[in-house]
Assembly symmetry: C2
Homo-oligomer: 373 residues x 2
Amino acid sequence: MKTRRDFLQKLAAAGLALPVLSTMAKGSAMPILDTTPYDGPMLRVAIMGLGGYGSRVAEAMQDCKKARITGVISGTPSKIKDWQKKYNIPEKNCYNYSNFDAIKDNPDIDAVYVITPNALHREQVIRVAKAGKHAICEKPMALNAAEAQEMVDACKKANVKLLIGYRMHLEPKTLEIIRLRKEGKFGKILFFQGLSGFRIGDPTQWRLNKQLAGGGSMMDIGIYSVNGARYMVGEEPVWVTAQETKTDPVKFKDGVDETIQFQLGFPSGAVASCLSTYAMNNLDSFFLDGEKGFAELKPATGYGPIEGRTSFGELNFPHVTHQTVQMDEMAEMILNGKQPVVPMDGAEGLKDMKIIDAIYQAAKTGKKVPLSR
Amino acid sequence: MKTRRDFLQKLAAAGLALPVLSTMAKGSAMPILDTTPYDGPMLRVAIMGLGGYGSRVAEAMQDCKKARITGVISGTPSKIKDWQKKYNIPEKNCYNYSNFDAIKDNPDIDAVYVITPNALHREQVIRVAKAGKHAICEKPMALNAAEAQEMVDACKKANVKLLIGYRMHLEPKTLEIIRLRKEGKFGKILFFQGLSGFRIGDPTQWRLNKQLAGGGSMMDIGIYSVNGARYMVGEEPVWVTAQETKTDPVKFKDGVDETIQFQLGFPSGAVASCLSTYAMNNLDSFFLDGEKGFAELKPATGYGPIEGRTSFGELNFPHVTHQTVQMDEMAEMILNGKQPVVPMDGAEGLKDMKIIDAIYQAAKTGKKVPLSR
């Protein structure tokens, strides 16, 4: 117990409240999740979209203390059967895309996590809101800022919360860098660099379908650098420039971006240089440079352990599955009004969508696009 | 001796001819310079411009086998006196900027290394050529491509060589990456990233004077990323975009760029994302990404040991002072017509100047600037 207390005190001293994690396995340097009983309120979540990422979230939620899966929404009956069995979900909490508005009358479900192709988010989130349930939406929250605004408005009108799946906003090394930046440890921030990309496989997947994805790499992976630039620099950009490159027009059809370089300018004069790509292996790094020091995250946004260091030393925080932390923290946000250090709400998602709109415009026109603040 | 032979054989097997270095200090992992007698021809060099970098070159040349300092050209008599004493230079081999054309009649000098402010290079190199001496010119070779072309033409007409101080073209880790790239080890090249910058000090120095420097960070340090993009990717860019940011217009006056982001597009579809700055601490890294692997150099261009690795492992080549290697190799190029792996002649410098012209144009107009091949 001493080890655990020391560890938690150290975290507290670092000003960093680590969400879920807690007890240390005896004789091990690896933390495990808190298994002490929890009597507080529990967020009961229906997962909409039982694909790869939905499955990852569901697995991770098995370690949640404050959130659990109580329902599913899917167009594939066989998937629903599998999930029912795996997660002990009663028949009455299972829906398809036609009938899920009836979730309104289901007292077992507090929130719906929308993990479907991008093009469906807008309508689905609005229907969730109209059913009086809180909405959690995977990023990108929509195809563009106009859609995102509609979603924000609908949730506000329905008096439900709208949260976006920005799991990195709860990642300890990321938060520590943000804390150090706010404390002025890096001095005036000058430069951010974000590289976000991977080589995408199966050309038939929805992510490469303009109608379903709304774009290409920028929507799916480039958004990490867009979002990261904002939380790392700590300002909202005022201009954007962008350059698109396509080497494989068969795989990456019209409107599906393969590679986009983009640059952001911030009010302080800081600049960001970013890359979004579906054509390069495992690019996942953030670099923040200030007058007095720098910080690096590499990998910066992957599912596995994030590695980070600053000019003052390595960052050593234990890894906890991001989706577990996210869902426990979102339970706190929805049930208890907890405010995360970096916002995770619809307004936050809308900011990214406005920038992505501007990036596409800049790439298309070749012009610097101003962003309203 | 076995250690040395093994080492050299290994280098040879790696297809890498390491210029100067040779014997290993007994019982040490650090190489020392070859001290065996050398009977071949010796390049006799006059240094023009006895400032900080000129001094560094002179110091490094003390370890050269094939090149030595035999003359100086300076506007400051006291500096000439110091150098005469330090490097044992006879009075008859000392010149100032008015009379150095008389070098033409000096049989003790084969080449002049021009290490003066950028704005002076054009005229000085042309005068060296007219004096019938080979010219070595520090980079940037000129203020723009038009000047660079004049210099190339003048040296061609005078039948003298023109070499540019691209010391990285002889750096072992850099060359190893180029070798691996040519062998196809990284597969199709997709992306290059170059970060080149530092926080410049004394605001009164010539590098911050538009008349003498011809620009700002791009001329002085950004050129490393311009040049690096070309030798790392192995292609000539066909377009450039650029964005300039200025946070300190007092220190960085009109025409003196503080920070420029620039992007290059290559015929294969590969892209480069680069940063040139006088406002950020110690940015010096190259990253090359291909379909099958990547390479990193960090630091990539500093005077000290270059650190590098690829996706296949660390690069372990010993450090030898770059300027020593450069001057010995330039002796081979001038005296024996040796061709370096990456060209170091005026035509090579001209290519960089054309790109820098385009970067300034792109930054000014906000437009993508095509580059003729």
